[in-house]
Amino acid sequence: MANTAEFRTCPDTGLLFHKPAETLMKLNAVVGIVFLLIGGVLGLLMGLTRWPTVHLLQADSFYMLLTAHGVSVLIFWIIFFEIAVLYFTCTTLLKSRLAGPRWAWLGFALMVIGSITTMVSIFQGRSSVMMTSYVPMSAEPHFYLGLILFAVGALIGCFVFLGTLVIARAERTYGDGSIPLVTFGALTACIIAIFTIASGAIILIPTFLWKIGYINHIDPLMYRILWWGMGHSSQQINVSAHIAVWYAVMGVVFGARPLSEKVSRSAFLLYILFLQLASAHHLLVDPGIGTEWKIFNTSYAMYLAVLASMIHGLTVPGAMEAAQRKRGFNKGLFEWLRKAPWGNPTFAGVFLSILIFGFLGGISGVVMGTEQINLIIHNTLYVPGHFHATVVGGTTLAFMALTYWLVPILFRRDIILPSLSKFQPYLFGIGMSGFCLFMMGAGTLGVPRRHWDISFSGAIFGHQFPETAYLLLGLTGISVILAVIGGGLFILQIVGSVFFGRKRGETKSATPMIAEMVAPGLHGIGMGGISVPGTLVLALVFLTSFILYYFVNWKYLSQVWGLG
């Protein structure tokens, strides 16, 4: 048994923190938030450049900063934060000590060194290759080297997580049964991460060797297949991680239990089994890849993963509805939802995250992952519209929501400006939703992604996009400003709270930080024999929008040139 002096019990939540793990959680989260800040500022510059009437940056700096934007938020912000989540779920939730804190420190150091190396290479200006860095276009060697170091560091973090699970099991720190659902979700994220990093190593290490002259050819198609083995599944780490956060927040705010452990856990398992292969949808219009392979991977693999997300889409709000009804908000279809704490950013952030991830990110992702429909979407602005809905509206918003809850617990400080924090998730969520919708609209009109000037000034031929496209890009720019203000407020509040928030001390504070668990079982709640009728109605609304939008796109496809 570990030395008890190394543990601290949080007076507000009763949660047990292993001090070395707590330090690492704080550090990983803080560095992650620094990258979020960098990414957000760059995002503002991107938005203001793609807004045609503003057109802020010059072409070379636009492409350079676009590369920096993608790498800093899509990789560094999210993975640093995820490592913090992994350490939280394996130590605190299992009441365990962290396995090999020295290894965890080494991992953290490598991630910091790697991320700085890559960022430096980008800002030096000769690595403007976008996050995808498709060969034969090449970046400076230290662009790849930094990513490799970062990946090795993250991999060490994953193994520390797994090692901690083994210790916790051996020492029976959490009893004889299974690990909590949230830790289980984090475990699936960790397993996907290990697969992802392996795939990244398979492609980035040869690319690095190619760049420094040890290998003379990298096949561009093989690069794309392997790169997306990393690139897509890295986004599945996020999905698993942020859904674990959804469950965690429902537990914290409502004392909710999953409707049934079996369904929720099986849905997480589906991610491990199927999501990685879904990366096929990036290759649907590539030459030399067979139709059968494409259909197999985007149907068998992707749809079973989509099934998993649809299950969580019911079970997470369902758990909340059940808990609220048990508390007595049992009138009508939606009293449970109306009486939710809408001014609590931890709840509001997660609820918006579920809506944006499901309606905007999920539906658009499935549509563009359909073999033939991809023809009218590939590489247009629709694509970043989709993935900002999943990664920013879904993952980032969920992580922000969790941070509001974690800061008082980890740093023992109150959130400053609580009245502002009420609005922050809405500002950010609404800004991001607008941004995603308008970009998807512009993409439907053919506006390309990663493109500095859609007026083609100076090109040999002219092309005029419809006026609507310009309008949509203007609206995108305005939404970016809203979202960046929302994101800025978040950083202001978190950084401000860590340094200047009122100290909470080591006794229990007046404001409760964790809800009492509700009684188990679903007896005596609901309407007409359905225990969570409100959630079911919401789920059916979702399904209807999904079906309509899916077939609208087939209709649109049927009108373009015949292809065979």
Binding site: P220, L284, L563
Partner: protein, 178 residues
């Protein structure tokens, strides 16, 4: 709660909620419908990609493109004398992506089918036909062949939508359909 171990140690024997079962069933049916649409469209739909593609090299591909240009050029356009090529219906037609142009311009007939070949001689490019909004990945070393049948007449632009360096946003080509 989801932050603590399951209430029942043997949780896999718990009964599943009826509402969950119902939703899983509907979601599964919907996934099957979506799966079915892709093979269905291959049989009955008019917009599909075959997987016809060949290995090639920049030299081989340039030679084939040039042979077509030499045979079928009808005029030259723009300050850079871009050839406009009008091969007969049913012919193999070629377009080549390079930093930073699509070469050559094509003139096609409405309602006729052509075998369009696409490749790059340097980096990856994105073939994006506007305002149709048909988008294909163009990869050096691979020659993709697609049977196209323009269904409307007019002037079409081919813009590059895969980032390919500083001149990316000026990479634009033309296809005229009579």
């Amino acid at each position: 709660m989801s932050l603590t171990p399951p209430a029942e140690r043997i949780w896999w024997n718990e009964p599943i909620e009826a509402v969950e079962l119902f939703w899983v069933a509907i979601a599964l049916v919907w996934a099957l419908v979506m799966f079915f649409m892709m093979p269905y469209w291959h049989i009955y739909g008019k917009q599909n990609l075959s997987s016809e593609a060949y290995r090639t090299t920049p030299e081989m591909y340039t030679k084939k493109v040039q042979a077509m240009v030499d045979q079928y050029t009808i005029r030259k356009e723009t300050t850079r004398d871009m050839p406009v090529v009008a091969p007969p219906a049913g012919a193999d037609i070629y377009m080549l992506g390079r930093l930073w142009e699509w070469y050559p311009a094509l003139e096609l007939e409405k309602g006729q089918s052509y075998r369009l070949h696409l490749s790059s001689v340097d980096w990856q490019h994105g073939f994006s036909l506007q305002p149709e909004n048909i988008n294909l990945q163009v990869i050096p070393g691979y020659e993709m062949v697609i049977k196209i049948t323009p269904n409307k007449s007019g002037e079409y632009s081919v813009i590059c939508n895969e980032y390919c360096g500083i001149g990316h946003h000026q990479m634009i080509g033309k296809i005229y359909v009579k």
